[in-house]
């Protein structure tokens, strides 16, 4: 245990940063994730296939390419990056926020898929019943659909979190590897694997990463089970 936790300050920072980045990525991708999953599961519109494709892009592309595209778009000279920086003061390049963005984008297809699957499993007759009781679409969603897809939501969120904990290629390409700012655990691990004799350090950080993600996983399982038990779909 001592051996495991005998980290340099930079490594501690990487641990903290990784958790922060993964959490932020997860939380901020949930609302758009739900929205897009809803559109894909329920919507009938032109370009649905396209939207579906775009959502899956980060999965299909090598992470480095994704990172590069992010750099071109959200970098300080990129169109979106310049716009956001100017109007909202949101800067991604070389910031931990950029790491979160990269992790969020990489985990997005996983999250959307999970949520979409659960939305498709919802019994629409229940939603109709809620409608007859006076609930408009938004209320129906909030009081019936959302609770019913909670297990899928949890699954999607934890997938995104886990992915964020392991994401490396897009992150380092987009925001590089700046200790205390953008050096997440995977970047630190990468550095170790690239030097002869770095295996031990890599192993240690890997174990820490596993422990964190496992804890999150177990927590999500427990949560999902409790939600499921409460529900007991007939």
């Amino acid at each position: 245990m001592d051996w495991l936790l005998d980290l340099t300050p930079d490594e501690w920072n990487a641990v903290r940063l990784s958790i922060k980045v993964a959490l932020v990525a997860m939380v901020f991708s949930l609302p758009p994730g739900i929205l897009i999953a809803l559109l894909l599961a329920r919507g009938r519109f032109w370009g649905k296939t396209l939207l579906n494709g775009v959502v899956h892009l980060p999965l299909i592309l090598p992470p480095v390419v994704t990172g590069y595209l992010l750099l071109l778009t959200f970098g300080r000279r990129g169109p979106a990056g310049a716009f956001l920086a100017e109007h909202f003061g949101i800067v991604f390049s070389f910031r931990w926020t950029g790491a979160a963005l990269a992790c969020g984008v990489m985990g997005f297809p996983l999250m959307v898929r999970a949520i979409r699957l659960s939305i498709e499993a919802v019994d629409r007759k229940l939603e109709a019943a809620a409608g007859t009781l006076g609930a408009n679409r938004l209320w129906v969603f909030a009081t019936v659909t959302l609770p019913l897809i909670l297990p899928g939501l949890i699954a999607g969120a934890i997938l995104a979190f886990a992915k964020a904990m392991g994401e490396f290629g897009a992150t380092i390409t987009f925001v590089s590897n700046i200790p205390n700012e953008t050096q997440t655990l995977p970047s630190a691990i990468y550095t170790f694997t690239q030097v002869p004799g770095g295996d031990e350090g890599a192993l240690r950080l890997t174990l820490i990463s596993i422990i964190i993600s496992m804890a999150a996983l177990v927590a999500s399982e427990v949560l999902a089970r409790r939600v499921g038990r409460r529900m007991d779909i007939e």
Partner: protein, 370 residues
């Protein structure tokens, strides 16, 4: 209420083409399995958008395909009880019941949660999840949920089909009271003649997606040919009567109808209260001389005004008892034996106990409040 429907809608091979008006307080949709009752009620609720047509309730247009009007479900203020209960599995029974309250302005709430819970006998279920209820329990909760949304029109799709007689009998008076006192118009789907006869002011008979008859219950119930063969005996005259007096000694109530005095088991209704009686054709016997020494108490004199062959060896005899026609269903053998003809003076003999609660629209036990 006036409900006006003129709609056509196609589902796969099935085509529903329904046109009828109903100004009744409770309109029953009656017809065999697969005749389109649920489809029609879903159209009224707004759960299905019709291919073509128009539905109005009290002049309010719910849908009009020509004018491009379609009021969304949640704005229709229509309570619906589904054939399958459709309770929310993630909420307790209590939360299910209260669901509609959120969307009802306090001023428009007329249903009281405690009274409804008492009435439906679901007090001990409040903290359960729907998955842990029996079939009948689920349906009772579903009825409560719809009522508590204080709807302006209540649609019920065979809500009692999975209930036992005791529960049915407990709930029916409540539906009657809703019908009579809150002026809540109700559209009620059923394939039970007894339910329809008891509850409905108007009946719409559906068969294979078409309206084969529509009109006041009295008229429809006398047309035994509209009823399924198995239930013809359940049809018969439906008479409006008044409570004349109570006979405390024997626990009886005497009703006055145009046909004469009729004795039934004591009713919890004030003298003068209007009552609806159903006299099932199969409960009526015909006598050519006034019977004596017989346990039947109700013997109404009258004249035979119609004779129709019924199912198999039976005939349906219409007896005009001072203006109201009572229908009797007897065998051809008896008819010949008694030499009955149009114009014969006869007596309609009715067993008192044939007027059980289900046939009199007796209303609510006194202690239940809404």
């Amino acid at each position: 209420m006036t409900l006006a429907v003129d709609i056509s809608h196609r589902l796969g091979d099935f085509v529903l083409e329904a046109k009828f008006d109903s100004a009744g307080r409770l309109t029953a949709l009656f017809g065999p399995s697969g005749s389109g009752k649920s489809t029609l009620i879903n159209l009224i609720a707004g759960l299905i958008r019709p291919d073509k047509g128009r539905i109005t309730v009290d002049g309010r247009v719910l849908v009009d395909t020509q004018a491009g009007i379609f009021v969304p479900v949640h704005k229709r203020r229509i309570g619906m009880v589904f054939q399958d209960a459709r309770l929310f599995p993630h909420m307790s029974v209590a939360a299910n019941l209260r669901y509609g309250l959120w969307f009802t302005p306090p001023a428009e709430r007329y249903a009281n949660i405690d009274a409804v819970v008492d009435l439906l006998g679901i007090g001990q279920l409040l903290n359960r999840r729907p998955a842990k209820l029996s079939g009948g329990e689920k349906q009772r909760v579903a009825i409560g949920r719809a009522l508590l949304a204080s709807p302006k029109l209540l649609l019920m799709d065979e809500p009692l089909a999975s209930l036992d007689e005791a529960r049915k009998a407990e709930i029916l008076p409540y539906i009657e009271r809703l019908r009579d006192e809150t002026k809540l118009p109700i559209v009620y789907v059923s394939h039970s003649v007894a339910e329809v006869a008891r509850l409905a002011s108007d009946v719409v008979v559906l068969a294979q997606g078409k309206v084969v008859a529509a009109g006041p219950t009295e008229a429809i119930m006398q047309r035994l040919d509209l009823l399924p063969a198995e239930e013809r005996g359940e049809g018969g005259a439906v008479l409006d009567a008044k409570v004349l007096r109570h006979d405390e000694a024997f626990g009886m109530t005497v009703l006055g109808a145009r046909a004469g005095e009729i004795r039934v088991s004591k009713l919890a209704r004030a003298v003068g209260a209007p009552i609806r009686l159903r006299i099932r054709a199969r409960d009526v016997m015909v006598a050519t001389e006034k019977p004596t020494g017989l346990s039947a108490l109700n013997i109404l004199p009258g004249t035979i005004v119609s004779m129709k062959p019924g199912e198999g060896p039976e005939v349906e005899i219409g007896i005009d008892c001072d203006g109201a026609v009572v229908i009797a269903r007897i065998t051809e053998q008896s008819r010949q034996g008694l030499q009955l003809k149009l114009g014969s003076k006869v007596f309609a003999v009715i067993k008192t106990v044939s007027f059980d609660r289900a046939n009199t629209g007796a209303g609510l036990p006194a202690e239940v409040g809404v």
